[in-house]
């Protein structure tokens, strides 16, 4: 969580050395810096190419040397894209599904994590172990039964089919439990002594303290949902219900489709919101994705 602060704390070079040694030391850091700059370039170049290409005509997308500055075809590409897949509707589907699923999964994980961390009750350990043991089961095992289930519920091709299976995320519950276990009981008891009901304790004391964890976990869940592909591919039929990844894969897969500008415009649209979010909330992003690594 304190990645950035810790990183900068290590950063300043030794101050106690003489000026000459400091200068030499400074020069010594440059080869590493250049390597990192090159790798960063390789990491970012495909994005840059994507965004630039989304603004060009088909002919220019494949030109060599590649275009490095934005062109004038963005509007045209977007309107072609909209004519083909109704991009507004697709964006809305993605936003709606990811938003509702994220909030739902956060609430489920918060309540369950709170129960596991702060209450003693029969079956606590067993339930927790059973919940966690499903982490080793690959998601592919769920596909066929979920498909049959949604068929029999009559929920194929609906938002519910996409949202419901993502509400219980054992990893999120595990993480909430870990985070809440570290919260002092005295805080909760003080509120209880003041006459607060359990809901007041939860939303008035626990949630505010846990806000950074909830934010990081929320971003992690939203990102996963925004990018998820296999299950939506199976559960969706009509183009009207498609989420961004499904719509993109469909566009890309059409052999007859040779309008590359629109495909890249769509790809850019699916990527840019996450990039913007990432740059704005990079600390929460990174701690969300790191949570499993450092707390495990």
């Amino acid at each position: 969580m304190t990645l950035t602060t810790r990183a900068t704390r290590v950063a300043p070079p030794t101050t106690g050395t003489t000026a000459g040694k400091g200068l030499r030391a400074r020069l010594r850091g440059w080869p590493t810096t250049l390597i990192l700059a090159a790798v960063t370039g390789l990491s970012v170049a495909p994005f840059y190419w994507l965004v630039i290409s989304a603004t060009h005509s088909d002919a220019d997308i494949f030109s060599w040397p590649p275009k490095l500055l934005p062109g004038s075809h963005l509007g045209e590409n977007l309107s072609h894209l909209d004519a083909k897949i109704g991009i507004g509707r697709v964006l809305l589907n993605s936003l709606l599904v990811s938003g509702v699923q994220t909030i739902g999964a956060l609430v489920v994980a918060l309540l369950a994590g709170y129960a596991f961390a702060k209450f003693r009750f029969r079956g606590r350990t067993t339930l927790f172990v059973v919940l966690l043991s499903t982490l080793v089961v690959p998601d592919q095992v769920l596909l066929v039964p979920l498909f049959k289930m949604m068929m029999s519920f009559g929920l194929m091709d609906s938002y519910q089919a996409l949202i419901l299976p993502g509400l219980c995320v054992p990893f999120a519950i595990f993480l909430m439990r870990q985070a809440l276990a570290g919260m002092p009981d005295e805080l909760l008891d003080a509120a209880r002594v003041d006459g607060a009901g359990e809901l007041r304790v939860l939303f008035g004391v626990v949630v505010p303290v846990m806000r950074p964890v909830l934010a990081a976990l929320g971003i992690f869940l939203f990102l996963g949902s925004w990018n998820s592909f296999v299950w939506p591919l199976i559960a969706l039929r009509s183009p009207d219900m498609h989420t961004l990844p499904v719509a993109l894969a469909t566009l890309h897969g059409m052999k007859s489709n040779t309008d590359y500008g629109l495909i890249l415009a769509g790809t850019a649209l699916s990527t840019l919101p996450m990039m913007a979010l990432f740059l704005a909330l990079q600390r929460q992003f990174i701690s969300g994705l790191l949570a499993g690594a450092t707390k495990g």
Partner: protein
């Protein structure tokens, strides 16, 4: 003391019921969308036929699996991608994290963000971008290779190179994520250890192998297991890049499962593949944990 007993009793009862109430959303969604499908899938794997014509088949699906050349092709492809990609990516990530951690590196935050950025992109979007960049005739990668005097490669049309394309895309996508995990691990190593080693005359390589690597072992184990599991479940990238082609050279176990379940609607066979995958994932995970975890 005239303490009102009925309300107290109610309070106690409420306190006893409370954890179960808090857990209810998690338990219901878990039961319906995780536990039930896991069991159902196992039972389905023992049946054959589709729709109303389903009947018991015992272990026939699993026997069929053992004799199915296409399943072995898919498993072989997945294994070949795995043994190249995971070590390559983790070695790169380790090198990058050490570079990022070096005291004299400038603009550390910029590099860290840039390197991490690809892991925020969706796999479908990534697949689409690289399908363009790796286009044999007009893609930027081949144009670049030819510009520096090398010959272009038939990335998506040749079996070997198509697998390399998948390796390339996976590496681009996940290296930064692993590097940031390692970086978090590196920041947890006490600096005194390095100072003591330097006093003892240990060079940089010696320090890396005697201090850094052992200290990172838990984090390394985490990334090895996670990357292995992820690669075994590979689906999105080859689906978008190559649709499993050319000539099934990038068909993965997950794609084969998808084909059987949702193109041929052979739910029993698809479920058997899912359980075979589960078995492989658990065995490999357990072996890695044993090999890497127990050398304390």
């Amino acid at each position: 003391m005239p303490a009102p007993p009925p309300s107290r009793r109610r309070a106690i009862l409420r306190r006893k019921a409370l954890p179960y109430l808090l857990l209810a959303p998690a338990l219901v969604t878990f039961g319906v969308f995780k536990a039930y499908p896991i069991v159902s899938s196992l039972l389905l794997s023992l049946t054959t036929g589709s729709g109303a014509n389903t009947r018991n088949a015992g272990l026939a699906n699993y026997r069929k699996l053992l004799d199915d050349p296409l399943f072995w092709t898919a498993l072989g492809n997945t294994a070949r991608i795995l043994v190249v990609q995971v070590p390559l990516m983790l070695a790169l990530a380790l090198g990058l994290s050490v570079a990022l951690h070096a005291a004299l590196v400038r603009f550390r935050t910029v590099w860290r963000l840039g390197i991490f950025m690809p892991s925020v992109t969706g796999l479908v979007a990534t697949g689409v971008v690289f399908a363009f960049l790796l286009d044999t005739d007009r893609g930027a990668v081949n144009s670049l290779l030819e510009a520096i005097g090398l010959s272009g490669v038939d990335w998506l049309g040749d079996g070997f190179w198509a697998r390399m394309a998948v390796v390339l895309v996976l590496t681009w996508h996940y290296t930064g994520y692993n590097a940031v995990i390692y970086l978090a691990g590196l920041q947890g190593i006490p600096k005194e250890l390095y100072e003591a080693a330097m006093v003892d005359g240990a060079g940089p390589l010696r320090r890396f192998f005697s201090i850094t690597l052992p200290a990172l072992r838990p984090v390394l184990l985490f990334t090895v297991v996670l990357s292995t599991i992820g690669t075994l479940q590979l689906f999105d990238e080859p689906y978008v890049l190559t649709r499993g082609g050319p000539d099934n050279a990038t068909l993965t176990v997950s794609m084969y499962l998808y084909d059987n379940g949702f193109r041929y609607f052979d739910f029993g066979y698809a479920s058997a593949i899912a359980y075979a995958l589960t078995l492989i994932v658990s065995v490999l995970g357990a072996v890695q944990m044993r090999l890497m975890g127990e050398r304390e």
